[in-house]
Symmetry: C2
Subunit: 321 residues, 2 copies
């Protein structure tokens, strides 16, 4: 009797690391997460990840794994299995995760950008299941994107990762660290929404947002969303503007990739219902040269399991084709 | 002794039709073109194409062809081999070209969008040779685009053709028939350049362009380009603006596809040298999240042979894999 094989999928973000034991068919046998506390140092961090893997293996009752899929917030050196991300993981530059983890678990390790891993997970078992072209756009602190073509992560020249979240959308828009003015991220991310509220507040002293700010609360995107839900005009206008830009960004995703499905994920898209009417209106206005109405727009469906599942899928694809 | 096989590549535009006899390695054994005079009717047109094929076969000294690659200005029904283009081929709607031509030459026929065919030709033997990801952007009366991935035309959902030429780039820009305001085509095509000159002329009564218009010449893009070459400030400013927008459009091509090479073709790009300094400046300003500086930007190199060669390549791929 041949024993069933398992891999471990890792999802390393700026705050938490998640790990899951995953079967070849995508069943999660065990799942756990822990704070990464990156600032405590790389060695501590690697050890923490190692312990988390031990923990989920124990939960799953397995002694051996066939591989490790490692999804991580980038930049990464995928080929060598290095993290190059001092931005969201303070101090994590030139961090070799492959060598220690491969050695500790006697298993190959594949590294993927976190947006790619999440998209691969969604295409495998979630919102993009059954499609041959699937785009994921995540809207949160930043705007990430990934494209899955025939079940595989689309990569550009030299294995580089597409960044549709930084597409130029309005050259008169706000500046972004990416070098553009008015890239999608600068217009629709959580911080962009807050910034656009802050700019408008002086003209709307009666708005709920103005009152919140007067009370000394530093405004965040959740407050803008909640104010919009409570009927605050300014907040609704800000959401409408952001959603319209997001709709235009999705028009471009469509014009370039023509996917069967675009899924929306990330923190801001927990409020999908607030954004989607405006997005669909924009799409229907741009239905002439490509069939925008035939594309399915949907919320990402795997939540915080997308990353670990996609990472698991990536290592399965590498070791079993 | 096995005799060498040949196919015929066709390139049907709004004005001319071109045909070539092409070997499997891409040698053009014979080439010819003729006006299509679409308004004379579909039957006449098909006959004209048929005669052109006979002509090049005779020139090449062959009696048989292994297939026909048919590149055409769209919209097309690729699958059934129908032309659906009353816009640039007046009267050509629901025109079955496959049945009569396949029958006349006892050969299979594959149909491709003309931008796709040109890009496939360039990727096979021209500016994109040796790349695994290649984008062609043609700037003329319209702005076309195509993407070649691993030597094959990239197609979207239901075989649809990407239209990066209509990407939204400035929501405050001019309206386009595609439904967008400020799509790339509305900002950089020949007519867009003329339109932007016309709008500016009243403020520049001393400019060469103002004088040309006063003389009663309807302005065209060639005149704007020539005025810019002669040092006319207004014309130079208009070219710089269009080139800057084109640069931003290419930044987006890069962010989505990350090709090793982007080639620029089409009538307006005969003045590549006027545009490229501004384009490269824009690219270098957007080098943070993707390596824009590592991408080769180049003029398309096959001129009016790109279409027939690409069409030939498409039928070779179908019949010989």
């Amino acid at each position: 009797m041949s024993q069933e094989e398992f891999v471990v999928g890792i999802d390393l973000g700026g705050t938490n690391v998640r790990a899951a034991v995953v079967s070849r068919r995508g069943e999660i046998k065990a799942w756990a997460q822990a704070p990464i506390e990156a600032a405590r140092g790389v060695e501590q961090g690697i050890l923490r990840i190692q312990n988390l893997i031990h923990q989920v293996m124990e939960q799953a009752g397995i002694k051996q794994i066939a591989g490790i899929g490692f999804g991580s917030t980038g930049p990464l050196d995928r080929e060598n299995g290095f993290i190059q991300n001092p931005y969201t993981l303070p101090g994590w530059e030139n961090v070799d995760v492959r060598t220690p983890l491969s050695r500790a678990f006697d298993a190959p390790l594949i590294m993927e950008n976190d947006a790619d891993a999440a998209a691969l997970g969604e295409a495998w078992l979630g919102s993009g299941k059954g499609t041959s072209r699937f785009a994921l756009v995540t809207v949160g602190t930043g705007v990430g994107s990934a494209f899955i073509l025939d079940g595989h992560i689309y990569r550009g020249m030299d294995g580089e990762h597409p960044e549709a979240g930084h597409q130029v959308l309005d050259p008169n828009g706000p500046p972004c660290y990416c070098g553009a003015r008015g890239c999608l991220e600068s217009l629709v991310s959580g911080p962009a929404i807050v910034e656009s509220a802050r700019r408008a507040i002086p003209q709307y002293p009666e708005s709920l947002l103005a009152r919140l700010e007067q009370n000394g609360h530093p405004l965040d995107a959740v407050q803008v969303v909640e104010a919009a839900r409570q009927g605050d005009r300014l907040a609704q206008q800000i959401i409408r503007e952001a959603a319209t830009y997001l709709g235009l960004g999705l028009v471009n995703v469509l014009l370039f990739y023509l996917p069967e499905c675009i899924a929306l994920g990330g923190g801001v898209m927990k409020n999908y219902d607030l954004f989607i009417p405006h997005i669909l209106q924009v799409l229907s206005q741009h239905d002439v040269v490509v069939p925008t109405r035939r594309v399915r727009i949907t919320p990402a469906s795997l939540g915080n399991k997308a990353g670990v599942l996609g990472a698991a899928r990536a290592i399965w694809q590498q070791i079993r084709g």
